[in-house]
Amino acid sequence: MARRTGTSALFGGRGAWLLAALLALLAAPCPALAQGTVSVLPVQGLRFGMLSTGMPTVISPLDAGRRATVELVGSGHVTLLFELPRGLRAGADGPLLPLRFGATDGRVTFPGSGTVLVFDPAAPVSFTLPPGGATIWLGGSAEPASAQPPGAYDAAITVHVVVANPAT
């Protein structure tokens, strides 16, 4: 059975207020930035938790506890490109544990307006960063095979944030 740990335990109990205060501090707006400059704040990576053979684990981009989250603050025209791995790999030439990213697994949310942009993380997505900034959410699924060999699996997702000043 797939079991998960980490986030919920961390948020519960006496530490919750401290964590909330810390997150509020970290999320505080940055000083005004020059046109065409963006600060990137990676908040959280994808959290698949326990993976069991033959049992896919799907993370929705709407799952606040497990989706990947990146915040952007600043101004300019932004293009996002995701380098998505085919899967988690156990060693350089080891077995692959497939990862899948669907056409609606990407979201750009604009807190200032409440607008949400759905995108396919396999393709670039562009938008103009509004004064309230934007938050990027990424979901995905891990699909261990029924005969997935044991091992230490790892992978990396790279988010390319391309910021252009459209007024020069």
Binding site: L18, G45, T128, P150, Y153, T168
Partner: protein, 281 residues
């Protein structure tokens, strides 16, 4: 089988460690600071200078590269800068003539580094402005966010690329802009101004537009500013929030000039200002 280990995070020590880790990795990755905001290189010096600065607390790996592109707008007035490394024949591209020294560098926290951009244009180049974009990519300013659960480790890395104008100018340059169409319409959001601009001359028009919403008594009830870069054509849409007290016939007054304090000296070429009035429909 991929396994994961259940970890207990209730203890105070672990909680503090987790918070410290969170604080460490969640600091904003400020893109490397670059000045000036754009390069306008003339044919006498054929050299531009960028100053890079790492405001972060970790070293940044920097790569400097070039592409071709310029601001373009869609039918809704959204502006973007699409770049390509294979510009079409006939495009006024300076991309292939530009070299950066150094092209790769490691910028330590708090360190500044000068990058020189040298231009080697072909002989017999006609007077005019030739366009490129300098791409400054940085990574490593912070460790990746790493989620490790049991034997599964997934990293989230961020690479930031700043795209800036790097234009080469030769000889006699002229620029200006024409308003080819303009409209102002009242809608549910307020008053939407749409202005279509077309450049004239042989160089990009870099300027700003001030748009004022006037009430029936010619009082200014709202003002908007917009920096514009018109390389060929450009559509801009701005929406005024209309004060509740504003009633009666309204007019939008626009003023376009080349006062651009954000650009380096000489960046915006001089051009005659434009004034126009557009009745709100």
């Amino acid at each position: 089988m991929a396994r994961s280990t259940v970890r207990t995070l209730f203890s105070a020590r672990t909680l503090l460690a987790a918070l410290a880790l969170l604080a460490g990795v969640a600091a904003p990755a400020h893109a490397v600071s670059v000045s000036p905001t754009a390069l306008y290189i003339d044919s006498r010096t054929r050299t531009g200078v960028l100053t890079l600065y790492n405001p972060g607390t970790l070293p940044e790996e920097i790569t400097v590269d070039f592409a071709y592109g310029y601001p373009q707008s869609d039918s809704a007035g959204n502006v973007s800068v699409a770049t390509t490394r294979e510009p079409a024949a006939g495009e006024p591209s300076a991309m292939a003539w530009m070299r950066a020294f150094p092209r790769r560098l490691l910028l330590q926290p708090g360190q500044r580094q000068v990058v020189r951009v040298l231009v080697e244009p072909p002989a017999e180049l006609a007077d005019g402005e030739y366009w490129a974009r300098v791409l400054i990519s940085s990574r490593g300013g912070q460790p990746p966010i790493e989620q490790t659960q049991g034997d599964v480790r997934l990293q989230l890395n961020v690479q930031t690329t700043l795209v800036m104008a790097a234009n080469y100018r030769k000889g006699d340059l002229r620029t200006g802009v024409d308003v080819t169409a303009a409209s102002a319409r009242r809608n549910a959001d307020g008053v939407q101004l749409q202005v279509d601009l077309s450049r004239n001359g042989n160089a990009a028009f870099l300027g700003r537009m001030r748009a004022e919403l006037l009430d029936a008594r010619e009082n200014v009830v709202a003002t908007l500013y917009d920096d514009v870069a018109v390389y060929r054509t450009m559509r801009r849409r701005l929406t005024f929030a209309v004060p509740a007290a504003a009633t009666g016939a309204m007019t939008v007054r626009i003023h376009i000039d080349t006062e651009r304090e954000d650009l380096p000296p000489g960046g915006a070429l001089p051009a005659a200002p434009i004034d126009q009035r557009i009745p709100v429909q």
